[in-house]
Amino acid sequence: MTNDVTAPTFVLDRRTALPALIGRHEDFLIVTGLAGTAKDIAALTNDGPHIYTMAGAMGAAVSMGLGLALAKPDKKVLVVTGDGELLMNVGALATIGVVNPPNFGIICVDNGHYGETGYQKSHTSLGVDLEKMAVGAGIKVTRTVEKEMEIAPAARILRETNNAYFIVLRVKPTDPPKFKRNFDPAACRVRFRMNLLGHP
């Protein structure tokens, strides 16, 4: 099996690889999916006012990010979500491919599992390639990051591309950082708008 170069490798640690890929998080407005990626980003930003993390509405992150990106063309919008969350509404990739907002990108933290519910295998452990689906959806800039040395080149995409992009960050199925974030979706809406717009 070690000779099989096409097999996906889940070796990176999300607790170090995701912060390295994002870099200065303050450069982005960030929408996350529920569970793992919400914890990743809340821990990274100390639950900052420029993030909106989900704890339900599974499948909503990409489309919510799209609405925000269209509303704020002068800001870079980043959706950070998991493989399970993305798969639940994977048709949204087709909408992103068609609209191609230049200030919008997705990082899919793909651990091949539903971590929150007990690490059941997801489709990406069983042959589904999300980057190929994104290519098929017409997203012009795509990348899969599986190794340490692939992080820096992918990080440049976040700041340099003028197309919507989709990055799969393959990580091992280990827990995200523990972080107690604000779970009140209305309070988080007001916090986000106060920070971005100056009014609730």
Binding site: V31, M54, A57, G67, A92, P185
Partner: protein, 176 residues
Amino acid sequence: MAPDAASEQKGWQHEVYDLLRKHGVDQFAYVPDAGHKILINRSLADPDVHSVSLTTEEEGVAMAAGANLGGAKSVLLMQSSGTGNCVNFFSLIKGGRFPFLTLISMRGDFGEGNPWQFPMGQAVEPVLSAMGVICLRADSEDTVVGTVEAGLTMAFKGGESVAVLLTQKLLGAKAF
């Protein structure tokens, strides 16, 4: 905006489009339906709005929340059957107290001849009500523009989630 040829076209659908624009709606998200044809075409021809065709209606619910985070206003145009595709995403709208406006072209309603349309069509109001979305029915050309205006005010001034149901009394039943 300077009036263009399109905005001088007659008919309630054109009045509704101009009203949405007057209230600052600039994201039009939709799954195509004959009942929304004029609104969709107007949004496609309008350089000042984003006209976004969706793969499923629930994308439009999440888009509305994202638009609000960025200070913009969106509307979701869908057929009654799309209501069922949205349900869990209304958790985001209700929990986050996001303003939300959808215009729903009804099937499975007054004069319907396609039996497949009844289950969801008849469930639209109870399903929306269960998820905290206020339903306003528009049954006639005389009242539809005022009903949409009421919905705009309730959503974007009142902060509520509102569905305006464009009924088959208004749109006419599709022939089968």
